[in-house]
């Protein structure tokens, strides 16, 4: 069987909004359909039957069991385009790209859309667990008497709903608190975090200014740019913010609302295809998908420093590099998802640490430093916002376009995810 590299043709996303902002009343289905329809419009794919559409959301209503398929049916794609949902926390978006790119590589499909969506505004709120137990018991009862008996278990306190938590079920700690531990263990300073955050805003603002996002973003509900973007952000301004995570570290708490991503709403999509399909449709290819790797760490029982919640990409990247016979320096661009500024800085520091690389990654030499001017060149999640499952699509489409503009080159993507997971990938022009 011939294996071919999947082509990244382009992408479309809606501007990312801050939680309870302009998209407060938009559902995941509304946003993903809008992103999908914008993609269809950009590339003239109306009534086209694609190989498949894969997307997902991290925060999902139970009624959205077939979210992506419903979005396809509500879009201008041909209704006989199959679709499925994927969920791998913040790795969802990139994982959908990997899944569809692999199917294209194997010749199982010729075209696909990968994507993701998330809303923290229209979050699913479930009924109280005790109330649910009572109602299910009543439903199971066979007689009126039995039903009344079960319903007699109703208590006022059961009206308190169950709200989704941004915390790890096994530790009870929020992602920010987990990262605060990692930040502390790795000695990541406040200033470097604020500088990275400021650069993210500066780079994204510059990307908008030069029209880089003109064919990557379609406005939605009156929002034309990412709402979180602060073009005038400076390290000095960011330095004034008080820490919000790791307060138990007292003076050494460094993570603020400015160097952590805010809760956001948004959706993104990426169009992938075989080279032949793209040529048939008169669509230029931006870049090709090369390879990917996922990893996970034991953040529950593992070493506090070596296995922080968001450190799985640190382990996944060297395996990916080895398989592709590349060094960390063999890239023109690095897209390291900015869950927190300190996540990026921890990742880079770990790769430069000889002891860690030897003991934990089994490498004779550390992976070494990267040229920082190649990092997140068009901004990343700190500036754009981070609607969990939508981040992968944002990064893949943006990096592919950046490589296309450069004319050739190679890019590395690294995305950390809840549950101690990480998804990393290489794309190339």
């Amino acid at each position: 069987m011939d294996i071919r590299r999947a082509a990244i043709v382009g992408g479309n996303r809606i501007p990312f909004a801050r939680s309870n902002g302009p998209y407060a009343h938009a559902s995941n289905q509304d946003m993903l359909t809008a992103a999908l329809d914008g993609l269809v419009a950009r590339f003239g794919l109306q009534d086209e039957r694609l190989g498949e559409v894969a997307a997902g959301a991290v925060l999902k209503h139970s009624r959205d069991f077939n979210l992506t398929r419903e979005c396809v049916l509500g879009s201008r794609l041909a209704p006989n385009t199959p679709a499925y949902d994927v969920q791998q926390a913040c790795g969802t978006g990139l994982e959908t790209v990997i899944l569809t790119a692999n199917k294209i590589a194997l010749g199982q499909i010729e075209s696909a859309v990968a994507g993701g969506v998330d809303t923290t505004s229209d979050a699913p709120i479930a009924v109280n667990e005790d109330l649910r137990a009572v109602l299910l018991q009543a439903n199971r009862a066979k007689s009126l008497q039995g039903r009344l008996k079960a319903l007699a278990g109703l208590r006022p306190g059961q009206l308190v709903p169950s709200i989704p938590q941004n915390s790890e079920p096994r530790t009870g700690l929020s992602m920010g608190e987990h990262q605060a531990i990692t930040t502390y263990e790795w000695g990541i300073g406040r200033e470097e975090q604020d500088e990275l955050a400021s650069a993210s805003h500066r780079n994204l603002a510059a990307a908008y200014e030069r029209g880089f996002l003109d064919d990557l973003v379609t406005p939605f509900l009156g929002l034309t740019r990412d709402a979180n973007l602060r073009a005038d952000s400076t390290p000095e301004k960011l330095a004034k913010l008080s820490p919000v995570f790791g307060k138990s570290f007292g003076e050494q708490a460094t993570m603020t609302a400015g160097n952590s991503t805010p809760l956001s709403d948004g959706a993104s999509t990426v169009l992938l295809a075989s080279d032949a399909w793209a040529a048939d449709h008169n669509l230029p290819v931006l870049a090709h998908f090369v390879d990917a790797e996922t990893g996970a760490v034991d953040y529950v029982h593992g070493d506090r420093k070596a296995e922080g919640l968001l450190m799985a990409p640190v382990y996944a990247v060297p395996r990916l590099l080895a398989r592709n016979k590349l060094t960390l320096q063999d890239f023109d661009y690095y897209e390291i998802h900015e869950a927190f500024a300190s996540t990026v800085l921890t990742t880079l520091k770990a790769w430069e640490d000889p002891q860690f690389c030897r003991d934990r990654l089994g490498l004779d030499e550390p992976l070494g430093a990267i040229d920082r001017s190649k990092l997140n060149v068009n901004g990343s999640s700190l500036a754009a916002g981070h609607p969990f499952a939508a981040t992968g699509g944002r990064i893949v489409a943006g990096l592919a376009k950046q490589l296309h503009e450069r004319g050739s080159g190679r890019g590395l993507i690294s995305i950390c995810a809840a549950g101690g997971q990480g998804v990393v990938a290489i794309i190339e022009k």
């Binding site: 029209g211 379609t218 008169n282 669509l283």
Partner: protein
């Protein structure tokens, strides 16, 4: 924006009241529906020549071929849908008598949304008597257009060459020209192939429409797609959401571009090179208004209107002509405005650009003709009901609507139909012309 007055005077009571007190009585215009016959009834074909001769036979064949029932004389009773008069033979003032003799009884039997089309020969400077007589046709047609009622129109074709005569006649007789009234149009030489399918004359063509997210631009995109073109709908990024809806409705694609940006021509060429086999149709529709009395006009209000409405068209045309991306027999249509002829208080900047566009098409016609028999023309809309005019004060809007021979505002689709006609292969003999779609508005008419 519905025209409530138009609805009212077309109701039984409203009609009776309006006729007694002498209020304007606009009619619901006949508009084009794909598949509908060209005319709802027969056409009477006449000629100012003693015998219609070969030209008459050719005209008759052409009309019959278009599915029109052609009568050689006015029927004893009953209405006719169109009067077509070949007046190309007039050479002395006395010959004009032929127009009165044919048209006077004819207009009495002309049905609702009827059509009067007069064919003339353009003045050629050879003989003053002949030229004066020929030019007289213009005055007759414009005056008659003002007399016609019930949505009927009268237009004049100056036939220098009959390459585009068939497609021009089809346009003027059909509902496509609903809001074109009292206009003369020059048909010159050119390459004007007959479409394979008259219902889809733009099949296989790639078109780009700027400012396509709403209003007239969206209507143009829609009509071009209906006529078979593959449409790239272009507009500013902030209009992207509406633009995507337009593209998805018509089965086209989108391009986010600011036509006034310095890099716009280059980006446009790159997009065409990457996504198309060359451009066949370009519609310069993007336009803005920044109205202010000249005394109060700020430089940015002045500059932005000039940049978007005029400079962008000049720069994009230059880039296209110098590139490999403009196909042969391409069609460029620029949006002007009746303001470009008549001016408008508070619109010195806008008026400058809309008059400038007229100069642009006239001046670049030769360059486009040299580019594989391409053409460039302008369409000048009059008062058209759009989101923009919906914001006008009620009284101003009502008055503006009645200030035309058709006593109503046009619709975006009326402008779009004229644009689509000029964009079609069959209009290859029309070059460097300005077609007003204004219902014979008294402003600038």
């Amino acid at each position: 924006m519905s025209d409530r007055y138009l609805t009212l005077v077309n109701s039984p009571i409203g009609s009776a009241v309006a006729s007694r007190v002498g209020l304007p009585r606009p009619s619901v215009l006949r508009r084009y529906e794909p598949g509908a016959p060209l005319l709802p009834g027969p056409a009477v074909l006449g000629s100012t020549a003693k015998s219609a001769g070969r030209a008459g036979t050719a005209l008759k064949k052409l009309l019959t071929g278009a599915g029109v029932e052609v009568l050689d004389a006015l029927p004893a009773d009953g209405s006719v849908a169109a009067l077509v008069l070949d007046a190309r033979s007039v050479a002395a003032p006395g010959d004009l008598r032929g127009l009165r003799e044919f048209l006077a009884p004819g207009v009495r039997q002309l049905g609702a949304s009827g059509r009067v089309v007069v064919l003339g020969s353009p003045a050629d400077g050879k003989d003053v008597t002949v030229d004066a007589t020929r030019q007289a046709l213009d005055g007759i047609v414009r005056s008659l257009a003002k007399e016609l009622r019930r949505g009927a129109t009268a237009n004049l074709l100056w036939v220098e060459d009959d390459a585009s005569l068939e497609w021009a006649l089809r346009f003027l007789l059909s509902g496509r020209s609903a809001y074109v009234d009292g206009q003369p149009l020059l048909l010159g030489p050119g390459v004007a192939p007959t479409p394979g399918d008259w219902e889809r004359p733009l099949a296989g063509k790639t078109a780009l429409v700027t400012g396509a997210a709403r209003g007239i631009g969206a209507a143009i995109a829609e009509v071009l797609a209906r006529d078979g073109a593959s449409v790239i709908a272009a507009d500013l990024v902030p209009a992207g959401e509406a633009l995507a809806k337009v593209a998805n409705r018509i089965g086209g694609s989108t391009l986010h571009i600011d036509v006034a940006a310095p890099e716009a021509p280059e980006r446009l060429l790159d997009h065409l090179a990457a996504h198309t086999d060359g451009l066949d149709i370009l519609i310069h529709n993007a336009g803005i208004t920044r109205d202010k009395l000249l005394a109060n006009m700020k430089s940015e209000q002045w500059d932005s209107v000039i940049a978007v409405n005029l400079e962008s068209q000049l720069r994009i045309n230059d880039a296209l002509l110098a590139s490999e991306q403009l196909n042969e027999q391409s069609r460029v249509v620029c949006l002007s405005s009746t303001t470009g002829f008549a001016g408008n208080r508070g619109q010195t900047n806008y008026g400058a650009t809309k008059a400038g566009v007229i100069g642009l098409v006239r001046s670049s016609a030769a360059a486009f003709a040299a580019h594989g028999n391409s053409t460039i023309n302008a369409v000048a809309p009059g008062f058209i009901d759009t989101e923009m005019t919906a914001k006008m004060p009620l009284a101003t809007r009502e008055v503006a609507r009645r200030l035309s021979s058709l006593q109503q505002a046009g619709l975006p689709v009326d402008v779009a139909e004229a644009v689509a006609w000029l964009s079609s292969p069959g209009a290859g003999g029309v070059n460097g012309q300005v077609l007003r779609v204004c219902g014979q508005n008294i402003v600038g008419a």
